[in-house]
Every structure is written in C-alpha cells, then in structure tokens.
C-alpha cells in the first residue's frame, strides 16, 4: 500500500481538519495554504488616491478564451477582489461577498465597509476549518475598496484570518513579490504609481514577459469610488512605463 507514506503519526492528524496535531497544527489548513501557492499570483497596492488590484492571467493554451479566466471580481460599486488558488473555491466566496454587500445595503441603506466585508468573509472561511466533514477553502483573496473616502486593502487566508496591508501578493511567488514591494513601496504613491508598481512587480518575478493579454488590472479610486476593470489598450499604455521583461533573458 503506497497510500501510507510518510510519518504514520502525522497521518492520523491530517485527515480531519477539526483535529489538532500534538504540536498544535491543523494540517488540512496548512495544505490549503500550499494549494494557494500553486495558483498564479495576484497583487494589491494601496495608494493615496485609490486601490490597485492586478493578477497574472496567462493561459496555458492559445485555444482557451481569456475571458473565462476569473481572477479579478467586482463585488460592489466600491469593492473589488483579486483571488489566487482554487478558482472554484474562490467563486463561492466571491458570491458570498457579493450577497453580503447587498445585505448591508438592504439592512442599513449604506455601502458595506471594506473591513466589515473582509471579516464576514473570513468568518465564513473559518467555519470550514472547524466543521466536521468540511474542507478548507484553497484560496486567498485580496479585498480592496474605498471606505469613508479612504483606500483600504485586506487579505484573507485559508485559516480565516483577516490582515490589512499597504501592498501584498497572494499565490505563486508570494515571497519574491512581497520582498519586491518591501523594497519599492512608498506611502505617497498615487494611483498611477501604484499601477506601475503592481505591473512591474508581476514583470520582475515572472519568468516570461508581461503582456496586456497576460495580466488583469482593476482599480477603485477615491474620487469616483467605483471599481473599474481596465482594457487591454489601457494596460498596454501602462506597460510602456514598466520594464516588462521577465528575469529570464
């Protein structure tokens, strides 16, 4: 039986997610984090006048329709989400977020806070780490939007913990992208500067050239408070300011 590979003591603890290992770990949640790393990267940058979301959307085959690759999602007028990891899992949380935003509108006649939305999503994710028979979400999300006129940027991970960031990446190459942001991010970036930073980060750590067809770009600015997904032509203009060559050349 090849199934029983590895440490037999560990085997007992990585079957049910509701069970801690003796050293206090939840293996299924850790495996879900590994699933996120297998996905292509998504990044988010908070700037003085808006939030930038960008995602690597390169497709494996020229036959695949690009529009069917979903990495950036409009949640409400003032909120967008970028995902990394299992697309099918992401879709469940995206629909949860969209309905949650509308419930807030119905209940209070006000747009939902980006922070409240993020915490509602992470509370939902957390349930899947503590309920028997459930599997954790193999997805990490970047939640960006405008709250009381201020740009806000949050992350959700498979454990259901919310984090707030100035700039972050989820998915493949996360560590490299984060260290790039740590070197290059400035608090006084404007929206255009944030777009350049997001695109150059994806170009810097990728091993292929970044093209308008290979990235998705969404922004929410403080002036309109509207989520907007940018066209290929607009992305091409932005890419002119960016060194698009991958590391390998």
């Amino acid at each position: 039986m090849q199934i029983m590979q590895g440490n037999s003591q560990q085997q007992a603890y990585d079957r049910g997610i509701t069970i801690f290992s003796p050293d206090g770990r939840l293996y299924q949640v850790e495996y879900a984090r590994e699933a996120v790393k297998r996905g292509t990267a998504s990044v988010g940058v908070r700037t003085t006048d808006g939030v930038v979301l960008a995602a690597d959307t390169r497709v494996r085959s020229p036959l695949l329709e690009r529009s069917s690759v979903e990495k950036l999602h409009k949640i409400d007028d003032h909120v967008g989400i970028a995902s990394a990891g299992h697309v099918a899992d992401a879709r469940q949380l995206i629909d949860f977020a969209r309905r949650d935003a509308q419930v807030n509108q119905l209940r209070y006649d006000e747009p939902i806070d980006v922070e409240s939305l993020t915490k509602d999503i992470t509370d939902q994710i957390q349930q899947y780490t503590q309920t028997g028979g459930a599997r954790p979400f193999g997805v990490a999300l970047i939640v960006g939007g405008i709250q009381n006129g201020e740009p806000r940027l949050f992350e959700t991970d498979p454990s259901g913990t919310p984090y707030e960031w100035q700039a972050l990446a989820v998915g493949g190459n996360r560590e490299d992208l984060l260290s790039y942001f740590e070197d290059e991010y400035r608090e006084d970036l404007d929206l255009d500067g944030g777009i350049d930073l997001a695109l150059s980060a994806l170009a810097e750590v990728g091993d292929k050239e970044v093209t308008p067809e290979g990235v998705a770009l969404g922004t929410i600015d403080v002036e309109t408070e509207q989520y907007r997904q940018h066209t290929d032509e607009e992305i091409e203009t932005y890419l002119e300011d960016v060194d698009t060559e991958g590391e390998e050349e």
Partner: protein, 239 residues
Amino acid sequence: MTDWNHGMDPTQQPSLDDGMQSPYEPELGTLPSSGNDEETVNKTGTTTIGIATDDGVIVATDRRASLGGRFVSNKNVQKVEQIHPTAALTLVGSVGGAQSFIRSLRAEVNLYEVRRGGNISIPALATLAGNFARGGPFFAINPILGGVDEDGSHVFSIDPAGGVMKDDYTVTGSGLTVAYGTLESQYEDDLSMEEARTVAADAVSAAAERDTGSGNGLVIAEVDQEGVEIDTYEYDDLL
C-alpha cells in the same frame, strides 16, 4: 454508555451557516407576530414631536398612557428613550410593541459599534428601524427617531408599515393634528435648541388640551454631538 455527542445524532454533520443576516429581522431575538390590538393593551395615545436644529435635535413627548382611548392607565410614562449614543426614539402606539422595538434597536446599535469600531449613522439606523417595522409586526407603532451624527441633525418618522420619512420637524401620535397647528405657526428653520424646546412644549401642551390620549406633562430629550439628555417637565416650566 457515554454520550459523546451530547444527545445529537452522531451521523449528522454540524451544519455550516451561510452567515447571511436577514435585513428585515433583528440579529438577536425575533419580531413578534402581529396580534391582538385590543382594549386591554396599553397604548400611548400620545403626542410626540421631533425638531431638528443646527445644534441638535429636540424630541418632546407627553406622559399619558391609556386603555381603549377612554381610561388614563398611567400619568407618568417616559415615551422617549435613548437608543444610540446620540439618538433617541419615541414610543408611540402599543407600549409593549414599542418597548420591544427599542430593546431590539439598542442591541443592533451596540453590535454595530463593537464590530465596526464606530457608531451607526442616523440614516442607517432609520433604515434598520423601518425594516423591522415593515409589515407591522409591532402592531401600530409610529415612532420618531431624532439623532445627530457627523452629517448633522436628523429627524425621521417611522410608520407601522415600515415607511421612513426624513423631515426638519415631525409629529406622530393621536394628538398630531393639534400639535402640527402650533408647529406650522411657530417653527422656523433657524431655531436655537432652547427656542425649539419651547415650540415643542407649546405644541404638546396644545395637543394635551384637546386630545384625550395626550396629557400629564412633558418628557423632553435634547440630543447633540455630546449625547442625549432626558428631563421631565410640567407645561409651566417651559411656557
């Protein structure tokens, strides 16, 4: 045998909650089903008034509760309650329905504040109150919400079907036509808080003269950025 499952069916998985709140129900407790609007139910009859000024809101009410509109069942009712750090709501209609309505809204205001780290705005609170009142489960409540937030002073009337209407000044209760007469002749859009308090007292006093459901003096809430102050008065104290 040890009951590991605390009486639950061991084959049943714990259910996953979709986490979605109903917009039309309080998060804690349930709305009463609409019911007996009989002569045994205490009603406030009532004249309640809200006036918005630049500095805050005056919410004034009479102090009479009645049974079937023919008997004064209480001569010292407080019909305006604080429900938010800077907002007050009046009790109009059935006393039980209005009291439970106030308790539900207070719980919602507190949960909103601790979860989001800031107080709910007055228009959002009015929407929530309208959602709860919708369909009339609190049989015949018709309160006024008066409050102050970062956008200024707000007065809303909420009707039993969930209608929410914003105004500069408004009256609800059985004495409303009489009180409106006074307000239409005395209200101005640049009243100070003290002037607005006098106008409101005059209007409640007029209603108490002619409406059998209103009388026995005044309770007035003064709401500003600092908070809510509620005091009891006789008509002579203010007029």
